[in-house]
Symmetry: C2
Subunit: 479 residues, 2 copies
């Protein structure tokens, strides 16, 4: 079913507003905090429609005309962001109802998550009134939406180019961090949703939506609590069966549960139950934001492995031994090279008399001929399912090449050609730098890789973990 054929999901309207109103932008405030942050983010990503500001006294803020009330705006408003204090939210909601606005994003915090009974009741009253009037709520206590196609951003630095990954996050910070860490590694998103307390719209609603969304091919999530358990389970099963999916579930310890409760009023629930649900739904559960980004990279770039057998290529004997350990610890194999592969490699290696073993630790990869002459026979071998090339910058041989940028381009061209011609994934690990120059070079190489369709990880251990999980995911879905 193509996008054109897909019937509209009932939440579709949320993700394509043509105009936005923001209540609670301080006239004094600079860019970056509170409501003003949304103004900056929307302007930076290039939201094409009008942005209306609601302010009791200011005539204009940052060049945008202010209206005393939402109902003073003449034109249609598709989406309202609330950054007013919690006590003013009921009035803003009434104005939304009057104005015919169907979606209100409550950045406003200070509701149930405070632990205060009065404020919990206020949240309940707001939800009840909104539901009765047909207004949907995102939040409260959340960053809302990042939708590249609609040019909506929740924070600065979020790129306008869309991609296949849909994200659901109970925490605005973790939604932002997923994007921030994912972007330099090529992760691009269809929709990112921070939903905070989930007073009205909850994780279940968004999973259901992303499962149907033709623009979303992969789903990742950060969850703190279990709301509306049976409905959430149904939505996770639906999403997990239809698309590759990974969830970072916090509150996995008692201390974490307590923190989750104070952050988004979440009841973390039993990790065992959640784990069983994930297995049943074919969803990968991870334990850190880094692992969630790594799974995004694996799903978006590696996609599928034919098996667990890896040839490891890169300089450094000690690194090779640790690489073999890390790969084996995550269920991958480092097979001995076949005689015909060794024969082919002997043509380009300098270390005569040394048999060529896997991991391959040879200086010949630092020459263009040797690089392709090492990788291609390995990738084409019948006992190999993927290549892992590990490298680093700011130290070692790389430091000595004056034409490093050109060398990088040639290396990545070889990596891409090997992946293309062998039909087997080529995965790259660029280890941490310890100098600013090395950091910049590592970023440059990483970008070259993903732009050429190659997955990059910041260490062999993290690559091994994500690749092992990709195999697990396949086993759950291909059994």
């Amino acid at each position: 079913m193509t996008a054109a054929e897909a019937p509209a999901h009932e939440l579709d309207f949320i993700f394509s507003p043509k105009s936005i109103a923001i209540a609670g932008v301080s006239a004094k405030e600079g860019a970056g905090m509170g409501g003003g942050g949304f103004v900056s983010s929307l302007m930076e990503i290039g939201f094409p429609g009008p942005i209306y500001l609601i302010h009791p006294t200011a005539p204009a803020i940052r060049g945008l005309k202010c209206y005393k009330r939402l109902t003073d705006i003449q034109d249609q408003v598709d989406y309202v962001i609330s950054s007013v204090p919690a006590r003013f939210v009921p009035d803003l909601l009434e104005d939304c109802i009057t104005k015919g606005v169907r979606i209100l994003h409550l950045f406003t915090a200070g509701f149930t998550e405070t632990g205060d009974e009065e404020r919990s009741k206020m949240q309940e009253a707001v939800v009840e009134r909104a539901r009765a009037a047909g207004v949907r709520l995102i939040g409260p206590n959340c960053m809302g939406l990042y939708v590249p196609k609609a040019r909506m951003a929740m924070m600065g630095g979020q790129p306008p180019r869309p991609g296949p990954i849909g994200m659901v996050s109970q925490s605005g910070m973790n939604a932002g961090e997923f994007v921030r860490y994912g972007v330099p590694r090529g992760i691009r998103c269809s929709k990112v949703i921070s939903f905070g307390n989930g007073a009205d719209l909850k994780a279940a609603d968004f999973f259901d939506y992303l499962a149907d969304d033709p623009e979303t091919e992969i789903i990742v999530a950060y969850l703190e609590g279990i709301q509306d358990g049976p409905r959430l389970a149904t939505a996770i099963r639906k999403a997990g069966r239809s698309k590759p999916m990974a969830i970072l579930k916090s509150g996995r310890t008692e201390a974490g549960s307590r923190a989750a409760n104070s952050h988004t009023a979440s009841l973390a629930g039993s990790l065992q139950v959640f784990d069983a649900l994930c297995r049943q739904a074919g969803v990968i559960r991870v334990e850190s934001l880094e692992e969630l980004v790594d799974m995004g990279v694996a799903f978006q770039f590696v996609k599928r492995l034919n098996g667990p057998r890896v040839v490891v290529v890169g300089g450094g004997g000690g690194a090779s031994v640790l690489a073999a350990d890390d790969l084996a610890a995550h269920g991958l194999e480092v097979p001995a090279l076949l005689p015909e592969t060794q024969e082919a490699l002997a043509k380009v290696t300098h270390e005569a008399g040394t048999s060529i073993r896997n991991p391959i630790d040879t200086t010949s990869v630092w020459e263009d001929v040797g690089f392709e002459g090492t990788l291609m026979p390995c990738a084409n071998a019948s006992n190999v399912d993927m290549i892992l090339y590990h490298t680093g910058f700011g130290t070692g041989p790389a430091r000595r090449y004056g034409d490093l940028s050109e060398r990088m381009k040639r290396q990545v061209a070889v990596l891409a050609r090997v992946q293309q011609e062998s039909g087997k994934p080529v995965v790259v690990s660029v280890r941490d730098s310890t100098t600013e120059e090395g950091y910049a070079q590592g970023r440059e190489f990483t970008e070259l890789c993903w732009r050429n369709g190659i997955a990059v990880f910041p260490s062999i251990a993290r690559a091994a973990e994500a690749l092992g999980r990709l195999l697990q995911w396949q086993a759950m879905h291909e059994a």
Copy 2:
């Protein structure tokens, strides 16, 4: 026992040569590879004595006079580095014997690690001859020594300032990587020893030495194989009981064992047996180089914890929840704040009506008064053993401050004062940056921290793991 009182260890002479000869520096070669690399490293760190080069034809290389043979040098030579091909090593050894040189470092590879029987026999013959003549060997197939006090370096970029950490490594790359990753976090070394195949001097010898060495307060190691098992066990027990110690043991999987064998001819041995030995000796076993560096930081900067109770301070609700999980997963506790602590914090917090909970996620830490007003009452609380402050650069509030460098200095002064006055460790986590500017700022903040005696980790999870292990280490030694 002070350094002055300590009797000389029989290996002392190895670590304080006054003159060095290097055999096998190519006349064509630039800096950085093979024997030339040692010339560069020694010059860079400022080795004060003469460096003699041995070359069959060249009169001088890089300004250093060349001698046809070691025996042609008139003056005393204390230390010889061999970068000649393996087949020339026996002749070089004979010259060492003639010249009265007592230590030969064989960077030269191509012996037992090749798997070739002939070359194994050659290694055996070299060891036998050296032992008979009273010459000790480091290697073959290794990077040798980094000894700041003697101004000896094995690689470029190794700082001349000594410190408390002694390292023993079977891999030259991993020795170099430990130093490279450790230096920006304040790790400084007494002696770093890469010993490769360990044909003569082995891990056991170096552990025994570092256990007695008054300049070494902490011992870390990277081992691939078990050589001379009973003697190694004795040395690890001696070292582990006398000083804080952590070992990264590779070859923990079958694939890793095979790689270790091909790298340094090591027999990895059973991990279970090694684990039992570590527990018995009170040694922490880690599984990655990153973890080894983290333990070095914990031992050098945190030193000792009074208990497992942490107050977590930093911005971002999602990060706080994950922090609580990470800490609890490593045996640390995130206690509720006492009423008197909450009362003190209420004076500086902006979020009125919100009770202040641990983790503390408040914007008041971005102001100087709020920062100290938040940290000090927490550190002084009777139910708290340490403070963990987490931050990041290149994004969020930090991006908006023009005087960031000055703010950093004020923040670190507060952190140092809190650590000093409360007598409880303050630990900092600086999360990964995604921009070059943020990377540079993170490095600047990290350096300010360790120069003020504060431990820094690159993530909350890694801090939690190292702190949990420090508690484990204390439990083994204080039981």
